[in-house]
């Protein structure tokens, strides 16, 4: 029963979601949004589980004075402080919660995002080393696209921007579309396996 009921729910919901896509009238219209709302409600309640897990692990770390326990203090203070400021003074513009979000959370997120520029440089350096024919082709294509997409490219040779555009529009787009078709078919196949109960590993079974 522990396995059968979830499998039955998956089957019914899966079939209903496929059918609703092709039937625009009620009661099928709006079913997708309704199910999404149900999922959001469950996810919000599940967030409590996540928070409890986070707090428990860091309290344990503090108790055992594990390496890096100081960071656990920062995390717990940040968590409790943010919750309290939000609960006591609201989350509107000018509130302490908003101040924390705009002046701490957002800059830290932006800092992480900015690291991407350096990571792209280091990854490109490795990828573009001409070790074999494939890597050499990649290097040539990358150089043409990079130079063709900056102003100096047109000054060097006025056909470079067109070559860059051609590489992006034809070989690149063709490859991307081939991957997209594969992904779409893989999604259909995987969904069918889940709906029919052939794939049940996510439920904890083989």
């Amino acid at each position: 029963m522990k396995r059968q009921i979830p499998l039955l729910i998956t089957f019914i919901v899966g079939i209903v979601m496929v059918v609703q896509y092709f039937i625009p009238r009620q009661p099928f219209a709006g079913l997708f949004d309704t199910f999404n709302q149900w999922f959001l409600i469950i996810a919000v309640f599940a967030l409590i589980l996540g928070l409890m897990n986070l707090v428990r692990l860091h309290v344990q770390k503090l108790r055992r004075m594990k390496g890096g326990w100081g960071y656990s203090i920062v995390l717990l203070c940040g968590l409790v402080g943010t919750i309290f400021t939000g609960a006591l003074w609201g989350i509107g513009t000018g509130s302490p919660f908003n101040y924390i979000f705009v002046n701490i959370q957002q800059p830290m997120g932006a800092t992480m995002f900015a690291l991407l520029a350096f990571f792209i440089a280091s990854a490109s350096f490795r990828a573009f080393r001409a070790r074999n024919l494939d890597a050499t082709l990649l290097l040539v294509a990358a150089v043409l696209v990079m130079i063709g997409r900056v102003t100096i490219g047109a000054l060097i040779w006025n056909k470079l921007p067109h070559i860059a555009e051609w590489i992006m529009l034809y070989p690149n787009l063709a490859g991307q579309r081939a991957i997209m078709i594969g992904i779409a078919l893989g999604t259909v196949s995987y969904s069918l396996r889940v709906i029919l109960g052939i794939e049940r590993t996510y439920l904890g079974g083989e």
């Binding site: 928070l51 897990n53 992480m112 991407l116 995987y190 904890g204």
Partner: protein
Amino acid sequence: MILLFLIASLSISAYDTPNDAGSSITLKFSSSLPFISGEVMRKNSDGEFERMASICSSDSSWMDNFTVDGVEYFYKIVLTTEEGIITSETVSAVSSPQWFHKGRTIMLVMVILVCGFILFFIREARGGKELYVRPIAGIEALDEAVGRATELGRPIMFITGIMDMDDLQTIAGITILRRVAKKAAEYEAQILVPTSRSLVMTAAQETVKEAYYDAGRPDIFNPDNIFYLTDDQFGFAAGCDGIMVREKPGAIFFMGSFYAESLILAETGHSTGAIQIAGTAMPSQLPFFVTACDYTLIGEEFFAASAYLSRDPLQLGSLKGQDWGKLIFFALIVVGTVLMTFGITVIRNILMVR
């Protein structure tokens, strides 16, 4: 005579909006004369005309989304031009909901066709037919990666992406996690699973627990190794990077839905010297993983991984059906390209989803 000409230059038609849930009528109109302002008027069978909306000269249609199904509504358009006010003829329509979205017919045909192939090969496999599936290096390297981490005495890190359980890629990631966790349990290696969603955390905890039971090592299962970090995209990336730098995992798996954080994670993992295997169906992130990881499961390979690993004939049958679906798409692309080259648009028109 001038008035008759003006009326003739303003045409209007009304019809039930197609492929909808009802309660909607579409008006199409065109005027050969420029006008200063225009108004759509509506009445039902026993009422007076009421103003419903204003239109401008660039408009050619208007949708009335406030109708009662089964009731006949009458419409006319009143335009103010430099010559004076002109009124269109009165047209009527009745709204009703549809049972089938005709614009998606081709999609239904394709779904039935692909599903038909998949079900056919599943049946074949059930009948005991041997099915060949090409080797996928990334999947075959899963065990090798776990083994290497064990030899080095380092933990294994498994990241299921940043999306929730409603994303198919997360579910596919969880199925691969089971296989990796079972291998880790057999080798007595430690597996760390940071998650960015609470539901994923609970699903991953259950999956890893079952894997340890299957391997006959429930005694070494530690639920604290599968933990929640944060829902925030870059907060999660920072947390994972920190774990990579501190714990120095021997093998890192990225299996799921990733966005801008993919390269941040993969490059940090690469700098720690870990063997890295990624799998995702996000085309924009694939180049990053290909560059920074040792093996990458590209799109469909990622979804095929669980079937490939299980060697279950039913699951392998579905992969075979999927390949036949691909063959159909390939044939359509070739035929469509040749026809389009000669200006014949029949295939394109059939395949267009409205």
